[in-house]
């Protein structure tokens, strides 16, 4: 059996090859440790360092990078699939009916009752809720960020996706400025289109939020060694 120092040396070797993430590293460390053990068993005169060097030669130069990149691609695909599933799960008859009634009420109130400020008022309420859900750190996310000791590829990919939501959110903040300060950076039809697409954006943001939180909960169980308890 390899000693802890030897396992640490393999971990450092993987890090030097560009595998910085613990969730990718653990599999490769185990793999290389097995190769090293195998080499040492077949040639007992070889030192650990010599065996590690030989084990490393079994990997092509770009293989480590290839493994990390493929893991990233698979994670992106997984999150996209989960996000779509979550988004589609909204479309049940009661939920769609309530949303359509709300939209119809806003259109009716703004056009027939001359309550021009109503859509924007609702937009502001939705924005606050959406920002709260989308970027507010729930307990588990906050805890994961505080307790994380090792870098995880899953968290990096999740956080990168989470930041993407900022783009449409900024667009809606501009819409609110337009209404609040009579400031008009774009034509009225952009404002109207943006307004009517807002329920869709809220749904997308909420579906993502659910995936984001669920994955953070799963992480804790999957890689307990990566977190300090």
């Amino acid at each position: 059996m390899l000693t802890q120092e030897q396992i640490n040396a393999i971990t450092t070797y993987c890090e030097n090859k560009g595998v910085k993430y613990y969730d990718v590293q653990l599999e490769l460390v185990d793999h290389i440790a097995d190769i090293v053990k195998n080499i040492q068993e077949s040639n007992r005169e070889l030192s650990f360092n010599e065996a590690l060097e030989l084990a490393g030669k079994q990997f092509a130069d770009d293989e480590f990078e290839m493994i990390v990149n493929s893991k990233k691609r698979q994670l992106l695909r997984r999150f996209k699939r989960l996000w779509c599933e979550e988004f589609i799960s909204y479309f049940t008859i009661p939920k769609v009916t309530i949303t359509m009634c709300l939209v119809a009420f806003v259109v009716w109130a703004s056009h027939l009752k001359n309550l021009e400020k109503l859509p924007m008022a609702l937009l502001q309420v939705f924005s606050i809720v959406s920002i709260g859900y989308g970027f507010g750190k729930s307990k588990i996310i906050k805890q994961n960020k505080e307790d994380r000791m090792l870098r995880l590829i899953i968290l990096d990919v999740l956080d990168n996706r989470n930041r993407l939501l900022l783009i449409p959110m900024l667009g809606y903040i501009f819409l609110m400025f337009r209404d609040m300060f009579e400031f008009s950076p774009y034509p009225k039809f952009v404002y109207e289109i943006g307004l009517y697409f807002f329920p869709l954006f809220v749904l997308i943001a909420l579906a993502w939020r659910k995936v984001y939180v669920d994955q953070n909960i799963l992480l804790r169980d999957q890689y307990p060694q990566a977190f300090a308890f």
């Binding site: 460390v29 290839m66 493994i67 493929s70 698979q74």
Partner: protein, 120 residues
């Protein structure tokens, strides 16, 4: 024509095996229950008497893809001072393995007809 001949000459065994890697791994997992990366490479090497050697750069991306597709599931286990990741076929993965093996058999029969036209 010249380029075709050149391509055939430089085409190595791994290129030929590339498309078969997925059903091979699925079959191994079906027969052995749970397996880890290194074990898969060694078993393939042993069964094919060293003829087929799976590189890590081909194995792990494939295992990660199968995991994403829900064909395999993973579990971690502490082995001494390191963590080992085991792969197991899911229920859907077992069904898919049977389909993949049937497809592979048909492919091999078709290939045989090309290699040995007299048998047709």
């Amino acid at each position: 024509m010249y380029w075709n001949v050149m391509y055939i000459r430089i085409m190595n065994k791994s290129t030929l095996y590339k498309g078969c890697l997925e059903p091979i791994i699925m079959r191994l997992l079906k027969d052995n229950g749970r397996m880890y990366g290194y074990q898969i490479t060694q078993m393939v090497k042993e069964i094919t008497k060293g003829e087929l050697q799976i590189t890590e750069g081909a194995l792990y991306p494939l295992l990660h893809r199968l995991e994403e597709q829900g064909v395999v599931e993973t579990e971690m286990e502490n082995i001494g001072n390191r963590v080992r990741k085991y792969y197991t076929l899911t229920k859907a993965g077992k069904k898919q393995t049977s389909i993949a093996m049937d497809e592979l058999k048909i492919f091999m029969q078709s290939l045989n007809l090309i290699v040995n036209p007299k048998l047709a």
